[in-house]
Symmetry: C2
Subunit: 414 residues, 2 copies
């Protein structure tokens, strides 16, 4: 009865894999660095480091970029991860656009595109457009980098619930899509050889990992990420560099916490969900209901209000805009306090719309956090603004693929 065996037993191959991964992680973090230095930092024997470096160099993962002959003794040869070791493709599917980037192993963007489309009732053309762009991006990666390069992965961020066990997009309210076997569709379109390289993830999860890897959350280990996009509110938690996914990958759906049983009606049918209080819609509602003259009056009349306009108005001292941000800041702070008590993070990152108005919300957020969260959890928590804006999701995809290579370089040594 030969059945799949999920248990990984330990043997010499595992030892090698772990140490290779340690080397990659430290090269990623400390490059440029010498072999001797690596040995000291990691704690491996110098001969072991030499052996591992040889293997990584042979496979083009690592290259010598110079010689450090400051000081006495034999000069050390400085090593770094080779940016052209491979490349990755990362995409985001939005309500009205597809953006795709191609990045090298140093996370430099080699190529990017953003194409608008009209949301049709039919998914087929959108998916074909997406896969066509992905193919194009892979092509670009292979063209722009030298011969020995390889595809490290393809990441896709989606505005909905992604079931990680089946690779299915279960529900994307803004797209109106349900039960799309997105992983299978991608591997069918891109070839079975990329099957193990496909990462499909909720966009908030992607963005959170991006902030951890390349952004505001570098060096933090329990990161709560919050991002308001349009009507919705997304979230994620990154624990020691690992996305916290829960049973199926749906964790981090904070938008429908009931904050007020008598609150506004939410599109989910309940009252007082958090996202009715802290989304773009909530900002606009506060501005409209101000009943006070404001520089935004004309935009309100013509229904052309945008978040950047409310940010600018607040920056100019417009009381209506300032009040709107402050109100949302309070509601945001109340929810953050609950989540901080629940997760005990060392960092809360505000992304999306929340990062735009953050300067006007932070005092209120901070006040509510310290009033409502336990003193010790609140004191252990820093609040920062996301570094990535509109490209947060794509950068998160790059982070996810990069992380997979750093964790499992052996998969690319064949």
């Amino acid at each position: 009865m030969p059945h799949t065996r999920p248990i990984r037993t330990a043997d010499q191959a595992l030892v090698r894999e772990i140490n290779l991964s340690l080397m990659m992680k430290h090269l990623h973090e400390h490059a440029p660095v010498s072999r001797a230095n690596l040995a000291e930092i990691i704690g491996l024997n110098k001969s072991t480091v030499s052996s591992l470096v040889t293997e990584l160099t042979n496979h083009n993962f690592v290259s010598e970029i110079g010689i450090d002959n400051t000081g006495i003794g034999r000069p050390s040869r400085l090593l770094t991860l080779n940016p052209t070791a491979g490349f990755m493709v990362s995409a985001q599917l939005n309500v009205d656009s597809i953006s795709v980037i191609c990045a090298n192993f140093a996370a430099d963007v080699l190529w990017s595109t953003r194409e608008k489309f009209k949301l049709q009732s039919d998914q087929q053309p959108v998916l074909e457009h997406l896969t066509s762009l992905l193919r194009q991006a892979i092509q670009m990666g292979q063209t722009l980098q030298p011969d020995k390069t390889r595809l490290f992965g393809v990441a896709l961020g989606l505005p909905g619930l992604v079931d990680q066990s089946t690779g299915t997009l279960l529900f994307a309210p803004n797209l109106g899509w349900r039960d799309v076997s997105i992983c299978r569709i991608l591997t069918d379109a891109l070839g079975q050889n990329v099957a193990d390289l496909v990462f499909v993830e909720n966009e908030a999860n992607m963005a959170a990992l991006g902030e951890y890897f390349f952004g505001a959350a570098r060096g933090f280990h329990q990161v709560l990420y919050l991002s308001a996009i349009g009507e919705g509110l997304g979230g994620a938690f990154v624990n020691h560099g690992q996305l916290f996914r829960g049973k199926s990958g749906f964790a981090g759906e904070f938008g429908h916490m009931t904050m007020d049983p008598d609150g506004e009606l939410c599109r989910c049918g309940n009252r007082g969900c958090w996202e009715t209080q802290v989304s773009q819609t909530a900002i606009f509602r506060h501005v409209r209901q101000a009943g006070q003259s404001s520089v935004l009056d004309e935009a309100i009349q013509t229904d052309t209000l945008t978040i950047p306009m409310v940010v600018d108005a607040a920056a100019q001292g417009d009381p209506v805009a300032l009040h709107a941000w402050e109100q949302v800041g309070h509601k945001l702070g109340i929810g953050i306090a609950a989540l901080v008590n629940a997760y005990n993070p060392d960092l809360v990152v505000l992304g999306g719309i929340l990062s735009l108005g953050s300067q006007f919300m932070l005092p209120a957020i901070d006040a509510e956090l310290h009033q409502r969260a336990l003193r010790w959890t609140a004191d252990a928590t820093e609040i920062r603004i996301a570094k990535h804006g509109a490209d947060a999701c794509e950068m998160g995809g790059v982070a996810m693929v990069t992380q997979s290579v750093l964790l499992h370089p052996e998969r690319f040594l064949g």
Copy 2:
């Protein structure tokens, strides 16, 4: 510059440790089982299994308990973890009592005691009483088990915030204690040789691990645990057998989520905290405010109301009691929905008072959960009643120590 090296590099010793741990885990789970069977289940070579079994047997961890000669071929010799391989001491410090148990490696309770004390302003006598009982329990373990036994660990559950990085009880509201260096106190009292064997943890965390290991949550992998004790509400999350602790160990403090900005005043100074809605106090409040005749009237008058009385009354169909439980069930369900969206668990375990009245609350909980949580997360979530009652915390301590031995048997092979 020799400094501590937090990175664990991989070598043959690690291989051995991992495989030893695999053996222990599977012996714990599948015993009694033969060597050949273990080899098949785990995926290790038969000779490797034999070698590991020899080592474990030599150190008294494993013993042969019989021969299975059903079927053809050479009969297999059945192995099991030796219950007398070692013992552990687990304690809970309560508001008015200390309970201490001593258990063997099979989690059988060898000895237990529960002593009441009057809470004094001075901690000193309480701590001395505690350490004295712990010493006594260790003594009992050594007396009751044969020569080759050893102390596997000492666990202590506390009703407050425990900072895991320093081993300090930062704040225990019901005890009125602050900043007690409990880990240092225990090792000072019990000897430096137990320093690595001491586990101090919040009581909800302990209890959650107990349910995962020995109780209602066996076999689940993302377990949300909720427990109401007195005025308070405690919680914890167990992810793949690992307690989710957050930055300092404070994660799981769900009691002060703001559920209603106009709600009851909480002892924390804010309004509408979840624990004002779902604790023992909330039940009593609903009973008192019923304004309807009830079998509980006399107890209400004499101020002798207890939770078991409200449970009994509900079981007899008393409408006031039933209504109280239902109201609390609804509030509980609203909060659980928020947490289920946040954590995407596969199981929610209700402990403490919540387990007592659960049968009267479950319909309401279920209704709110399915109304407010995302369909897919709600569908992925089961709700169960805790198996352990008053001894949940102690059993959790046993679980924590047992888990440490299963994960790191090599620490006891010296």
